[in-house]
């Protein structure tokens, strides 16, 4: 083990960190919005919508992410003239956007299942009470359903975020120089895979531990009703 080389690779790998975080952020945010849309469509009153979402989720969950990335990045390149006519070629030409698109769609399907479970766990009496107060539609969702469902979904969605960080590494296969991309280049240049692996592993573990701590904090913050009452708050009844 060569400590000097280890620190050297670590510093070089840090240059890929912004891209890894960027991919994670965009794919996660777009994925989460799509997930909510899919989850709401999954229980929509129109059966073609429901069938579409079911098929989409089935297909995306049953195929490897790398195949999805290749299909979007290499596969859609086959329709270049068509995409150029639509003015979309500048998007599909970039591995950056293709990676974000594939990651977001992939995460949206897993996320939609989590959100669907969370939406189903909203107690019906809360909804009834809200309706009795005259809330409906968007207001009902905004005030009652979504806050309860999102709090319920948070721990699982936190896992999804960690999986997303790891999944961004696949972008390196379509030439993106994220942490894994830099790691692959360093391994090829130096032929010292163990040191590079340790350095890159430390970076990913640091990201993931930070994120899981952050999720735990948000979870704690969102569920005051589950916290054990401190003696000062515990007011005896009667």
């Amino acid at each position: 083990m060569d400590i000097a080389f280890l620190t050297e690779s670590f510093l070089k790998l840090l240059s890929g960190l912004p891209l890894t975080l960027e991919l994670t952020f965009f794919a996660f945010v777009i994925g989460a919005l799509l997930a909510l849309l899919l989850a709401l469509m999954r229980d929509a009153p129109l059966w073609p919508l429901r069938a579409f979402v079911r098929t989409f989720v089935f297909v995306m969950r049953g195929t490897p992410l790398l195949v999805q990335i290749f299909l979007i990045y290499y596969g859609l390149g086959q329709f270049r003239p068509f995409l150029q006519d639509l003015g979309l070629w500048s998007v599909f030409r970039e591995p950056y956007w293709c990676a974000i698109m594939a990651l977001a769609l992939n995460s949206a399907t897993y996320g939609s299942e989590i959100l669907r479970g969370a939406l189903g766990s909203v107690p019906p009496n809360e909804i009834e009470a809200a309706r009795a107060c005259g809330m409906s539609g968007v207001l009902l969702y905004r005030r009652i359903v979504l806050p309860i469902a999102l709090r319920q979904a948070l721990p699982s969605y936190g896992n999804e975020l960690i999986l997303m960080v790891k999944a961004t590494s696949l972008a390196s296969i379509i030439t993106m120089m994220d942490v894994t991309g830099v790691a692959a280049r360093l391994i090829a240049e130096s032929y010292r895979p163990v040191e590079v692996f340790i350095a890159a592993g430390v970076i990913y573990l640091a990201i993931n531990l930070t994120l899981s701590r952050a999720i735990a904090v948000v979870d704690w913050w969102l569920s005051p009703h589950l916290r054990r009452a401190t003696p000062k708050q515990a007011v005896p009844h009667g």
């Binding site: 195929t63 992410l65 790398l66 299909l71 999944a167 590494s169 390196s172 573990l205």
Partner: protein
């Protein structure tokens, strides 16, 4: 359309035969990795449940690290690191030059080490679902460790763990696509080759996706059947 059928035909000009063989390779490497993962996961779960402090911490560190690092990096480590070790070993015996590890072995070992970390968590959860009274009852009947494990613990863990294990099989199967970077001609690599030589990437990746989907779907049905079978005679309160 007829054009497409010709592309995937089993004739001399078609890619059907290569794709079918590649799908078998995917199944082989995924199931070998999965089997290695079962062993590693079982050992890790055992370590975390019954080990002393050192073993527990070691097993916990392993699962945390393996679940926090991208699979792709682990595959790089096994493939390049393995080749480096083998090359060094051979050179110490006087053989010059580079010796690579077979991509199949490196890939299966990588999948095994990753899925083992996840399987350990599933087994541990399943063990927690076991009521301590059953183990006590077993002990009071005079069963010793191995007998207790074989008769009381293992059958129940297997039942509780089955759904989680099914998920991990799906994961291992999809992870196996990453092994294509080592050059192992599994389904994705074969599709890449076909896409490159015919310049029809869209069709071939779509076909690959369809084959993966079929495999995940069929094996999912298999796991569901096993789950139903394992639930025979179990009273459940849900209607």
């Amino acid at each position: 359309m007829t054009d497409l059928l010709q592309l995937v035909s089993f004739g001399p000009d078609g890619w059907g035969r290569s794709l079918a063989l590649a799908a078998l390779m995917t199944l082989a490497v995924a199931s070998t990795g999965f089997a290695i993962g079962l062993v590693i996961g079982g050992l890790l779960a055992w370590g975390r449940i019954a080990g002393n402090l050192g073993v527990r911490l070691g097993a916990e560190a392993y699962t945390t690290v393996m679940r926090g690092i991208p699979d792709l990096l682990v595959i790089y480590l096994f493939y390049f690191g393995g080749s480096l070790a083998v090359t060094n070993l051979f050179q110490s015996f006087g053989r010059e030059g580079f010796t690579g590890v077979p991509p199949f072995l490196a890939g299966a070992a990588a999948i095994g080490c990753i899925s083992g970390a996840y399987q350990a968590e599933v087994f541990r959860g399943a063990f927690r679902a076991l009521s301590p009274g059953e183990i006590e009852a077993g002990r009071s009947m005079g069963m010793h460790r191995w007998l207790l494990f074989r008769r009381i613990i293992a059958p129940q863990i297997a039942r509780h763990a089955l759904p989680g294990i099914g998920n991990i099989w799906q994961m291992a199967l999809k992870e196996s696509a990453l092994i294509s970077i080592t050059g192992l001609v599994e389904l994705l690599r074969q599709s890449q080759i076909a896409a490159g030589s015919t310049r029809r990437p869209f069709e071939f990746y779509l076909i690959a996706a369809g084959i993966y989907l079929t495999i995940t779907w069929v094996t999912q049905l298999g796991f569901e059947a096993m789950e139903r079978r394992s639930q025979r005679g179990i009273h459940r309160n849900t209607p």
